[in-house]
């Protein structure tokens, strides 16, 4: 077909550019499933222990807020419950990032123009990106199936789980192809697609925590649960993501033929001819660069905080047996009251999201430098330190604001239901803000890498990913306190409910400060460009 002529070469080019990133994504997905399958087998060796887990999870809809409902007590079903939704989200994020990177980002930076002027069909770039990402998802599915089967789970269920996760990735591949046509920048395309992912995740959470189970059919992440790997293996459900993918791709093709090269679908409005008072100076620039993204994150974290906060009251109602209470307490990670344990989990999650925001803000300094825009700023009367600090300042203030709105949303929602708004607000705002030193630590690590090894600044996502893994998955994998303590997020006082101790906050802040100072000092000494 002439409309996709040249796509084969483009797939080769893309897979060469992704030769490091792609294996990492696949390794994370397969590793997540493998390590969970292995440790769950060790944690729940007999029927009785598994049944008590199912009772605990089943009795408390809120326990399924993060991972979904657990219905069957087989080892496979527990593994699928534990990693299914998370795996689906990771596959979705991978797909969204990769599609944007190979479509809109290429168009935005002008490289695609060079390619499109060759003997290359109109849809070649889109087709090549889709081919690469679909292949990545299929590979991930097969790998997950194989890894789970190797750890002794039934083969059919293992591959059904792999297929369900790949299905989620497939759906968001299509969705990202559409947002890449709509938004004018790759940042915008990513943001739009990730907002959909968040929305679908919340729809799924609402379905799993209420009696409206039909809502699960309204979310691609819910479809993943409906496959019921190891519990019936309903392969036909996979037709849904496949159909969704096909429809999205058709829509993306239709849209791409109806827009101009380099532009999005949203009309470009003329802006002001003069800079306002807030766009002056180096801090003004940093504020302008980050304010849109910050607004999006704030809205997302407020909605997430409010949604999860509103479920907190239901927990006590379901806690009838002492055994359930005990198991819930274990799952929550040691705090006494299960409601507090639940709220702590939610706040830790918000802390991780704020950490992702802070890392992305600090790394923006690197993309400003690599894009040649730092040069004109630094050639003005602006010291390097001030310029780098302007980004760090937005990361610090922005992430504090994110935590505040998350705590405010959760406190407001919980308070309205328990008729104690001021009490809930106070305790949840505190629980959210206590995450801040750990957030600043990941931001400071990004600054350290930016100063020392600017080309590899993106490696700042690696320690962050490790902290996410240790905080979210670590406790259930019985990794041992030494390993868990490696994550600053695990060191924080477990508010609400626990004692607020200053010691961990102080030394996390001290490490963050040291890393930031070292990064800034290194940046002052190195070449810019």
């Amino acid at each position: 077909m002439s409309t996709v002529a040249g796509s084969r070469q483009l797939v080769r080019l893309a897979s060469r550019r992704d030769r490091i990133v792609l294996p990492i994504w696949l390794y994370v997905l397969a590793g997540l499933v493998g390590s969970s399958a292995y440790t769950i087998k060790g944690l729940y060796p007999d029927e009785a222990s598994r049944q008590s887990l199912v009772v605990a999870i089943g009795a408390v809809p809120t326990a399924g807020a993060l991972y979904g409902r657990l219905v069957d007590d087989s080892l496979g079903a527990i593994t699928a419950w534990r990693v299914g939704v998370l795996g689906g989200v990771i596959a979705a994020v991978m797909s969204i990032m990769l599609v944007s990177r190979h479509t809109r980002a290429e168009e935005q930076n002008g490289r695609h123009e060079l390619v499109a002027a060759g003997a290359v069909g109109r849809y070649a770039a889109l087709a090549a990106a889709l081919q690469l990402v679909v292949t990545a998802n299929l590979l991930a599915g097969v790998l997950i199936g194989a890894v789970a089967a190797v750890f002794g789970l039934p083969a059919a269920g293992s591959f059904a789980l792999g297929a369900a996760i790949a299905g989620s990735g497939l759906f968001f591949t299509g969705l990202a192809a559409v947002t890449a046509q709509v938004a004018e920048t790759s940042r915008g395309a990513n943001g739009l697609a990730l907002a959909f992912l968040g929305l679908f995740y919340l729809v799924r959470a609402a379905a799993d925590m209420s009696t409206f189970t039909w809502l699960l059919w309204c979310s691609p992440i819910g479809w993943l649960e409906q496959v019921r790997a190891f519990d019936g293996d309903r392969w036909w459900v996979l037709l849904l993501p496949v159909a969704g993918f096909a429809l999205s791709v058709a829509l993306a093709g239709y849209l791409s033929a109806r827009r101009d090269y380099g532009s999005g679908l949203l009309p470009v409005r003329p802006g002001p001819a003069y800079a306002g008072a807030d766009t002056r100076g180096v801090l003004g620039l940093a504020w302008r660069l980050h304010r849109g993204v910050l607004a999006g994150w704030m809205a997302g974290l407020f909605v997430a905080g409010a949604a999860f906060g509103s479920f907190a009251k239901d927990i006590d109602a379901f806690l009838d047996s002492a055994r359930v209470k005990k198991i819930m307490t274990q799952l929550g990670g040691g705090t006494q009251d299960p409601v507090d344990a639940y709220l702590w989990t939610i706040m830790a999650l918000c802390g991780l999201m704020a950490g992702a925001f802070a890392v992305s803000v600090v790394l923006r300094a690197r993309s400003e430098e690599a894009g040649g825009r730092a040069e004109v700023v630094l050639a003005g009367g602006v010291g390097r330190l001030r310029w780098a600090l302007s980004h760090l300042a937005v990361a610090a203030v922005g992430s504090a604001a994110l935590l505040a709105v998350a705590g405010f949303g959760a406190g407001l929602a919980d308070g309205l239901r328990t008729h104690d708004v001021s009490g809930a607000l106070g305790s949840l705002l505190g629980a959210a803000l206590v995450q801040w030193p750990a957030v600043m630590l990941v931001a400071a690590l990004a600054m350290l890498l930016f100063g020392l090894v600017p080309r590899y600044a993106n490696a700042a996502w690696a320690p962050f990913g490790l902290f996410v893994f240790l905080t979210l998955v670590g406790p259930e994998l019985n990794l041992g306190q030494v390993a868990l303590d490696f994550s600053p997020f695990s060191q924080l006082p477990r508010l609400p409910g626990a004692q607020l101790t200053a010691v961990p906050l102080l030394w996390i802040s001290a490490i963050a400060l040291a890393a930031a100072v070292a990064g800034l000092a290194a940046f002052r000494r190195r070449d810019v460009g």
Partner: protein
């Protein structure tokens, strides 16, 4: 070192890994001068400018800006200069007008009246977002921001490579006005007519070294003269004279390029066979640069 020198570089060296970008570069720009920085791609022009701006750290030699060290004291020095990079990259979500004001504010403000005048003269639409501008328009944004400032020194790295001829003319006017105000200008360029019209002195650099520096007349003085003569008889022995190049003999017509030292010998040889017409002209700028740039042709 001269106190009136705005830029004083000597023996500057810089390597990126194994690649040597500068190997002992010299550059001197006195106050109030428009100085052209010329050289083939990869000669080290942009590296020199980035060291002057304190963005890169030199490996050796010295670079002084307003008598100060650009690496140690960038902020106070930068308040006195304005810079237009060769490849202007703008913030996609800021309009051109906002970018101009922003860049001005980083330098401590700009003359609003002059700014508006420049926007009009360059026919720039300040309402457009950064991502919507073409290369030439991005360059105009950076130029307006630089020219609207009260900077004592303008550092312009191939500032007109994306401008159309009309805008180039506007640019030349603006540079002349800046010079009149007393500004010093360092202009890196490939456009020879522009250099010829604007620059008081030029420095030619190659492979990270300064190969020559001076006014254009001075440079020409030491370069080959092109001679065309119609003779009474075919010439004899011209090809044996050292310093004669590109010799073409077509019956009684001779064309060749001659080094200054060989001029006398060539004229004598021509006179011996009888000269009917003779034209000689200094090298065009293009010939001058081809001479300096090309590898095979360099007379060490």
């Amino acid at each position: 070192m001269n106190a009136t020198d705005v830029i004083d570089i000597s023996g500057l060296r810089k390597s990126f890994g194994r690649a040597q970008a500068l190997a002992g570069l010299d550059l001197r720009v006195p106050r109030g001068e428009v100085h052209g920085l010329l050289g083939p791609n990869g000669a080290g022009k942009s590296t020199t400018i980035r060291i002057l701006l304190g963005l890169l750290r030199s490996d050796g030699g010295s670079a002084a800006l307003f008598g100060g060290d650009p690496w140690k004291d960038p902020v106070t020095l930068h308040r006195r200069l304005a810079y237009v990079p060769g490849d202007v990259s703008l913030w996609p979500n800021l309009t051109g007008g906002e970018t101009i004001d922003l860049l001005g504010s980083l330098r401590g403000g700009l003359d609003k009246e002059r700014r508006d005048g420049l926007v009009a003269r360059f026919e720039l639409d300040p309402h457009k977002k950064g991502r919507a501008y073409s290369k030439g328009n991005r360059q105009k944004v950076a130029l307006v921001a630089a020219l609207a400032s009260e900077a004592e020194l303008l550092i312009l790295d191939e500032p007109t490579s994306g401008l159309d001829p009309l805008m180039e003319a506007v640019f030349r006017e603006c540079v002349a006005e800046a010079k009149e105000r007393g500004a010093t200008i360092l202009l890196s360029s490939h456009i020879l007519t522009e250099v010829e019209k604007l620059c008081d002195r030029v420095s030619i650099i190659r492979d990270g070294r300064t190969v020559d520096s001076g006014t254009l007349d001075e440079l020409r003085q030491f370069s080959r003269t092109t001679i065309n003569a119609r003779l009474s008889r075919p010439p004899v022995g011209l090809e044996t004279i050292d310093g004669v190049y590109a010799l073409k003999v077509d019956k009684d017509e001779v064309t060749c390029q001659v080094d200054p030292e060989a001029l006398e010998a060539v004229l004598r040889a021509l006179a011996d066979v009888g000269v009917r017409t003779l034209t000689s002209r200094p090298p065009t700028l293009e010939e001058l640069f081809l001479h300096y740039y090309s590898d095979s042709d360099t007379a060490e």
